[in-house]
Symmetry: C2
Subunit: 155 residues, 2 copies
DNA sequence: GTAATGTCTATAGTTACTATAGAGTCAAGC
DNA sequence: GCTTGACTCTATAGTAACTATAGACATTAC
């Protein structure tokens, strides 16, 4: 199977496959006379494993480790469960942080209903000097919540 | 005030100030004889505005637009409220996506309690071929949730 | 035979910084 | 005056996981 076929079967892009190969997640496949990559069922399995892991939020480094575990199945799997646990913890923390951010954004939003001139906009004034929220008051900054990574999830 | 003083007052790093200047968010300051940047109170205000916006999750592009609005306060502020609204929507979507991911991770976690050999680990088997969840069944992939951006928020 | 599509490599761009290197400057203590 | 340490300067590369682009070659459909 050629790279485009495998991409279609796995539901990913051709460039992603080449990228994963370059990153050492996928093995280097055979090549045709024209230097085209040629894959078998095992390569597809491996790719799907990687894609599944990505859907669970694993980093490529973690997937690399999981693949090496997969390639040596006699090892003890305890660290796999620990990996998942730590992911759950990370997701929990992200959710809490986003909930926190949301309350701040909603509070900010209520400062203005739009249609005003910049000087009078309560949102702009708050961005100049936001109130300190109780749960953020520890730092001298207005709020200790971290800026979220705003890409990737929504859409 | 020198760049280090301003960084201390604003609670950010020196390199961040230089980076924001290069990105056009901060104005180019006066220079001392030794070519050191020299800032006044207005520059500090502007920097704090940028940092506050960052805490609310704005992208630098959005902050650039907010700064230009701030520099022309006679404009109608409706788009500011719309910007905040769209951010709230984005945060909502991220939370929903993470909640979804969390249920999947927990389900995955229950497949194994660790201490097994790789072959028998239910987690590893599920990563090879995960079940299709009802709310994800639309796509041929095991689950339509997106991989989260796993950096930045937790910590 | 030709045109459209697919594949190849290599390189640069994305975001918001962070890290590093190498050089110059300033303030304090001796 | 000299040294030492802290501070500043610029430029460059690295981070994560791709995405986009360019230019060349191969295959497939008609």
């Amino acid at each position: 199977m050629k790279i485009g076929d495998m991409a279609k079967k796995a539901g990913c892009k051709v460039v992603t496959i080449r990228y994963y190969e370059k990153e050492g997640l996928l093995l280097e496949p055979e090549r045709s006379d024209a230097n085209y990559r040629s894959y078998g069922a095992e390569a597809l399995d491996r790719l799907e494993f990687v894609l599944h892991c990505r859907k669970f939020g694993m980093k490529l480094d973690e997937i690399r480790a999981l693949l090496s575990f997969r390639d040596h199945p006699q090892r003890d799997c305890t660290w796999v469960t620990e990996l998942i646990d730590s992911h759950i913890g990370g997701v929990d923390a992200q959710i809490a942080s986003l909930e926190h951010l949301k309350t701040h954004l909603e509070e900010l939003r209520h400062r203005c209903e739009g249609g005003l001139v910049g000087n009078d906009c309560g949102i702009m004034r708050s961005l100049d000097a936001p109130d300190v929220c109780a749960s953020c008051a520890s730092s001298h900054a207005p709020c200790a919540h971290k800026a979220p990574v705003s890409s990737g999830l929504a859409a």
